[in-house]
Symmetry: C2
Subunit: 456 residues, 2 copies
């Protein structure tokens, strides 16, 4: 949608909201729909090709309005997570439509998804240990729990362990910054030998520093064998798995208990929106299920939830920390339909291609080096030379204010990170950015040369 | 803002966004402002009287745009929480502007605020116990921690205790459904005598079932004396404390460690927005402070935070679970200025007055009774008679779809709850609602009478 169309559609939407407000008194305050009404009203998969904005808006009237805020909110969320799950070719275990135990939920951020996974794993393990040893206290078990994640993982994994009150160990990575089975296996054996209980492993697909991928296809079987909950945090890179050429990186997801990606990072959806799937939703919900009177209602027995008027099987209040929730699935519905699967794939491919272009520009300049394999939209690079030199370059880049790079450390070295992430980024932006970087670096190197010349 | 003005302003805003998008390439990617730049650019208090929409929008250009997403986002949040804190006449300890240790943050929901308070209290207590007994393990201490809250408290308090892995005890309430000092004191003494460590009390101002108020002025001193963190959950009712006549209900807040209200419940701000204040922000942040390289930056020493470009003193990533955050303080800024303090007070008073009107209608009908004191916008009432009778009435009300009531249980009895909460609710709505309820109840009573007549 270009600016001109945005102006037109945005103004139509303002009228839509105002019309609703003006006529609100003529609407039922309580929806007159049956539990689960929504699924049969829309397709079971995202469209391949883009649909028209008119069609989507017409469906808001047809599908959403009769279901009011709820159950429409929860039911659309459930179906959208199925759509997205299918786009990602997730195993059926993770989908709701199979009427199994799995399903999806929207959390605010990947931090919350990781936390919910860790807390669910904690409860599951406590129950499991107590089954064979009923005398053992919950507190004693928790004090022996050990979580694992990559040394390259996002800090939110450590934060989750702090909140959960459990020990976490950082797993060293191989030369590609990936966690390997052998390393985890060894740590698990060590910890079990000293009386600890390995219970949770957070795998990362697309680490923050350099977009590295843990080998989940070899890690998964170990986790399954050891009763370790495997959560996969694929916040950024996971979005790209809707492209068949990237999907092999997700092989092994069948061993996972939970999985999350952030459509707001790489699927054109506004922040916040973290899609999370679990294989057994009861693991997630039984830890937090409480039923105060103000959440009870006439459909109680039949699976409805009072003032949320939604089937227990789909309502989401026990799937996360907050009770009230925003209608975030609308964002997914609009974007999936306005772009179509092919449009979203094209968007991702374009970003990756632009990153490859940048990589080639870096590789063509002898002053620079690439510091990690470029798989998606992130290029890790640096000037050949000291950390100080690279810090000086970054300082100049930031000061000038034309582009903005966030650095990282890889194997102790200071590294610059170039990320293609704008909706409207084109080839010329990449070329201009590289020209800008090389102009600043040339100045810097010239000054350094002059300075060294003087010193000699 | 009526529908006509909404149409006009909404469309102006669409153009504002489109203009921004069209000209984004001419903007600096990195803001050129000094840390803490924002506070001096806007008043230190909310206006008493409404300001014009044009003035607010002009300030978005003048104040927000130079600070980009951040630091503007965090700095405006910090100042808005000071504004709101002053509207509530919070003690200075809770404000940021005093450059003390206190300050405010926006959480998504009251559930998150309560959770963050409980987790902070947990860490503080562990550290405190370990100071006098360094050999004692964290796990052992946590296993002995006890939290308290009213038996009438929201289920999110229990949820927080489950997440935190601590025991919680529900404190019985007095005849006004309030927790009293004597009751808590007794429970604390009992628990200490058996080796437990009381560490957290969540007081409720405005309980969900009947809007009851714990006596924080008498509970606070006990918590302080016993080193129990007192958090006040005033999600709904707390908004009304901006009116001097309701402010006495908050007396005792000076004893609290943390306090939260939801402006999205009773201050005309859209969901989600839970305002939370703490007296010592370090209690909140030190539990979750982690510094990965991608959050470091050139202002590190001077108190700036890398890609958030904001002073450490105000940035909020260690104040909650998520790392990324939405720009929710804009909602507060717009609403505070468009209504002014007096406009917001008038809004609250109108709701309370409408609730009193409904209360009088109920009291004037001999078939009904009022079940709890009406303090704010909530009226708890029921038909004199059995729970079944009241359930039948609620069923009819819900089925008809004109109004929607959420019930509760008070002292084991099934009670209907009438809540005034719409932005556009007027006297005629209250009158129509009551007429509707009495028509349905008359039918019901008539049927019952006929039925009983037949049986006799």
């Amino acid at each position: 949608m270009d600016a001109a169309e945005f102006r037109r559609r945005g103004k139509e939407m303002v009228d839509f909201v105002a019309d609703y407000q003006e006529n609100i008194e003529h609407r039922r305050v309580y929806p007159d729909v049956e539990p689960g009404y929504l699924r049969s009203m829309i397709p079971s998969e995202a469209p391949l090709e883009p649909e028209s904005y008119e069609d989507v808006l017409r469906d808001v009237d047809r599908v959403i309005m009769p279901g009011a805020a709820n159950p429409a909110c929860s039911e659309l969320e459930t179906v959208m997570l199925d759509w997205l799950g299918k786009m990602l070719q997730l195993p059926e275990d993770f989908l709701s439509e199979t009427q199994g135990q799995g399903g999806g939920v929207i959390q605010g951020t990947a931090s919350e998804a990781t936390l919910m996974a860790l807390l669910s794993a904690r409860l599951k393990t406590v129950k499991c240990v107590q089954e064979s040893d009923p005398q053992r206290s919950e507190a004693d078990i928790i004090s022996k729990l050990i979580a694992y994640t990559s040394e390259e993982a996002h800090s939110s994994v450590e934060k989750a362990s702090i909140i959960g009150g459990v020990v976490i160990r950082m797993v060293p990575t191989d030369e590609h910054f990936s966690v390997r089975a052998e390393t985890l296996e060894k740590m698990v054996a060590e910890d079990k030998a000293t009386g600890y209980i390995p219970f949770f492993f957070c795998a990362t697909l697309g680490t923050t520093p350099c977009c590295a991928f843990d080998k989940i296809d070899e890690l998964g079987p170990i986790c399954n064998a050891e009763n370790i909950w495997m959560h996969i945090d694929a916040a950024y890179a996971g979005c790209a798995f809707i492209c068949p050429e990237f999907r092999p990186l997700l092989n092994g997801v069948e061993f996972a208990d939970s999985f999350s990606i952030n459509p707001n990072k790489f699927l054109l959806v506004g922040f916040d929106c973290s899609a999370m799937w679990v294989k057994k939703s009861a693991d997630l919900t039984r830890a937090f299920q409480m039923d105060p009177e103000y959440l009870k209602h006439e459909h109680q027995g039949s699976g409805w939830c009072n003032h949320l008027h939604q089937p227990y099987s789909t309502h989401k209040i026990h799937w996360g920390i907050p009770m009230a929730r925003r209608f975030r699935s609308l964002k997914l519905w609009f974007v999936f339909r306005m772009y179509g699967l092919r449009g979203l794939q094209a968007f991702i491919r374009k970003h990756v291609e632009l990153a490859k272009t940048f990589e080639n520009l870096v590789r063509g300049d002898n002053n620079f080096e690439i510091c990690a394999e470029v798989v998606m939209g992130l290029v890790c690079f640096r000037l050949k030379g000291s950390d100080e030199l690279n810090k000086a370059l970054l300082k100049q880049i930031t000061r000038t204010g034309k582009i903005y790079l966030v650095p990282c450390k890889l194997r102790g070295r200071f590294v610059l990170r170039f990320v293609v992430c704008g909706r409207t980024t084109e080839l010329r932006h990449i070329q201009e950015a590289w020209k800008h970087i090389t102009e600043l670096s040339s100045e810097l190197l010239q000054n350094l040369f002059d300075h060294e010349g003087k010193e000699n």
